[in-house]
Amino acid sequence: MTPVGAPVVRDEALEKVTGAAKYAYEYGSGEQTAYAWIVTSTVARGRVMSVGADHVLTADDVIAVLWHENAPRLGDVGDPVVAVLQDGDVHYRGQVVALVVAKTPEAAREAAARLPVEYEELSHDVVLTPDHETLYKPAQVNPSFETDTRQGDPDGALEASPVTVDHTYTTVALHNNPMEPHASTALWHDDGTLTLWDSNQGGHPVRETIAGLFEVEPGAVRVVNAHVGGGFGSKGTPRPNVVLAVMAARVTGRPVKLAVTRQQMFSLVGYRTPTIQRIRLGAEADGRLNAIVHEVVEQTATVKEFAEQTAVATRKIYAAPHRRTSHRLARLDVPVPSWMRAPGECPGFYAFESAMDELAHDLGMDPVELRVRNEPEVDPETGNPFSSRNLVACLREGAARFGWEPGPRTPRSRQEGRWLIGTGVAASFYPTYEAPATATASTDGNGHYTVAINATDIGTGARTALRQLAAEALDLPLERVSIRIGDSELPPAGLAGGSMGTRSWGWAVTKACAQLLSSGSPEVTVNTADDIEALGQYSRGAYGAQFVEVRVDVDTGELRVPRMTGIFAAGRIVNARTARSQIVGGMTMGLSMALHEEGVMDAAFGDYANHDLAGYHVASCADVGSIDVGWIEEDDEHLGGARTKGIGEIGIVGTAAAVANAVFDATGVRVRELPIQAQHVLS
């Protein structure tokens, strides 16, 4: 009777499709409600000298203009991204320099557009180059990995290898654009407490940050995020919008709503750094790797460091005795890069799994077999045993389902009418993380059970998955279990990020339910910190194999992907329906990365020139053909908790490489930069 694994329809489906589900901007409406509009810098580096607030305060509906000389002073929480309007320095184009508050959103927008801001402008530097003069070695890469690693003698091994690959791959800036842009509604109560409806990936971190900035007790801040329209990492840490909404509500004494515009999303909420990656592989003639070298150059901002862990996954994927990885950052006058779905693994695997394909081609080998041949027995980086690793099973199962033709690829060998056809494969890997969480389970004594935990469902179906896990632990039908999430009044839980949400929360939920049953008391609260501490020394991760067919128009170079197959191994799958959606979404995003998405840096102005969804292309429905998704059943006793791994990010990793490899197979053109567009393959 266990509902775990079943394709249960998500709890809030009806609310969402009927519009009844309320999002952050839809609370707190009333006559007193005010609307805040962000004013962003039009220079890339310099200083705000004056803001002509008087010029717009004459308009009837304008209530306040805040800038660095009149904005409330904030407490120091150690994050310059949220220290908004505290000084006049401009670190990048599109930074917050002022805030207009008005009685209507239209009035706020118009006043923001007319607000005179004078700058002292300084020269800027925004273009990432492989040998940029500011390149430096960060102390660690996100979140706390070693910056550089080295095992054996990679240079000597490369020299000694009969077959080598040495290529550089580049990726562009990619911008998080969830359906629901960042938005907040703030309301200070007479007793000095604050209610905050905010679109984020974790209410407790927002509560802590806001309490620190406004110097109140965390308990005085309530953060509600009942429904969140996506995040991809951009809502993982508090952004300027929530701070500004709270600030405006305090200054005006009104409920204040603030939504980040689509254009502002491109500078204010983080993005995936562009990368320049040099990969060197040395192999024996039979395909066994001797050496792996992966060197990464990427950018960070002057205002705050973010060091993407681009080469980290390379450390763990294949056996090779000699290996080296490194990360170097250029500090540029650009918006602050941050997390975007599978940070590091995603761009890193594009480059690395492209290089593997090049190696397979040079060896005259089936690219699937090349990967199988380099399957490690233990984690190549740490020597730890794998808790479970089913990459080979994913490759085999995927090849069978996709109809992969075994053997070496023969580029430009298939054409149907106008279309050149090619197929490509790539592996995927994403580490399995977990964070401590607290959950309360209770019963009403009449056979109904409720589990409360401040988890966040950013659209993944987490709410439903947790209910399934609770029902399993209680051995009850789903109907007799309720889940409460999305409110900082509930027991604290970690982020919906790092693919660890459902895994971490599910652990606390099942533990609470089990203890409720064993204790016989009507309510128990548990925490998983000790359980996580007690996890054994295993290498834990989700694996997958991606297979893609690409068609390229011989006359126009247009690229289309009619079908993709993704097979994954990610522990127990809690909900077949929402899991499938997550993976289809990840693969779609990877397809979009491969062929469409491109933040175009304008060197003269210092911003991303294409900053809306007409100019920044994400895959449209018509770009996505058939996506066949499956998984290998895993029951991994070393995972702890509900024996689940994360699935939010594994779907995107490897997709872009599989597309690029298929483009090579179709056209014979090896494109080593993303996105791959008509000009690369036009003949």
Partner: protein
């Protein structure tokens, strides 16, 4: 958004009399309203022209078709007469925008949409089209989508309409009403080259109202026609290059009449008259098509990031005409 006055016009004459300097006609609003939100368009007055009884497609003199300016793009694309006699037009409409936008956008408004050059759309940056004399950052900035033909040092913007490219190939004429009278303007003469003053897209005055679009009587060259649009994604993207083509062959296989217009390569739908002339009376073969395309594109003067459009346009002209010759 800048405050503005809204007026609902009851008849075409009423609309042009209500309009004045600084006014804009509001049709589907799919481009105008976006630009108003961005502060690019700042009209004091919007004259709503959606109730003018201009939403019909009717027979015109000499066997042609008169399309009311208020006809929605979706309705026009679906019209059986258009689909049968002018497939290039139906295909062009269906390749534009998204289903939602096509349901909202009007025929007249489609022709008057503005360039999607990112500098034009961003009021924090210079743009000669938006603010004459301020400069053109596109030449050294983001210009992959911009013009390779007929541009000037002051502007390399492209016109975004697919519909207009098909109309240019069809020799369509606009019916235009103004406070001083009515006139007809060929679509091929509607748009201006950027030259010294790119701020004006067309030859129309602000008080000129497009009331209809007249298609000449169909013939073999319009019935054997197609629209081919190359773009970065399969839907909801402006063209990298598009081609509207029609072909009528004599019994001996030579070209009796040919029409070629190219989109997304210039400030206007680019009628490829040199290619047409080069093909007149010649065999309808891929070799001849490529030669003619080369004649047309000799004039191309691309920038570094859009140089690929020259080859793309050449290939597309050849492909489109070859396909028509085989049909």
């Amino acid at each position: 958004m800048k405050p503005f006055t809204y007026a609902l016009a009851e008849a075409p004459g009423d609309a042009v009399h209500q309009a004045e300097r600084g006014a804009r006609f509001l049709g589907g609003g799919t481009n105008l309203v976006d630009l108003m939100r961005l502060g690019v368009e700042t009209p004091d007055l919007l004259v709503d022209v959606t109730r003018l009884d201009l939403d019909r497609i009717e027979p015109a003199g000499e066997g042609g078709l008169l399309i009311g300016a208020g006809v929605r793009n979706s309705d026009l694309a679906a019209d059986p007469r258009v689909r049968r006699d002018y497939p290039v037009l139906s295909q062009a409409l269906l390749s534009g925008a998204s289903g939602q936008l096509r349901n909202q956008a009007t025929a007249g408004g489609n022709l008057l949409q503005r360039t999607r050059c990112v500098y034009f759309q961003d009021v924090t940056k210079p743009c000669n089209k938006r603010r004459p004399g301020s400069g053109c950052p596109a030449r050294t900035g983001a210009h992959r989508d911009l013009a390779i033909l007929g541009a000037s040092e002051h502007c390399v913007a492209t016109h975004p309409s697919d519909f207009a490219v098909a109309l240019a190939a069809l020799d369509a004429r606009l019916h235009v009403k103004s406070p001083t009278g009515d006139r007809r303007v060929p679509v091929t003469e509607l748009y201006r080259a950027p030259g010294e003053d790119p701020s004006r897209d067309t030859v129309l005055e602000p008080t000129d109202l497009i009331t209809g679009i007249e298609l000449p009587a169909p013939g073999e060259v319009t019935r054997t026609s197609l629209y081919r649009k190359a773009r970065d994604r399969a839907s909801y993207a402006f063209a990298l290059v598009s081609v509207a083509a029609g072909l009528d062959r004599a019994p001996d296989g030579t070209v009796r009449e040919v029409r070629v217009a190219i989109g997304s390569v210039a400030h206007k739908p680019w009628r490829a008259r040199r290619a047409e002339t080069a093909l007149a009376g010649r065999p309808a073969t891929p070799e001849e098509f490529r030669r003619a395309a080369g004649v047309e594109l000799d004039a191309a003067d691309p920038l570094p990031d859009n140089a690929f459009k020259v080859k793309l346009a050449e290939n597309m002209i050849v492909e489109a005409l070859t396909r028509l010759a085989a049909s």
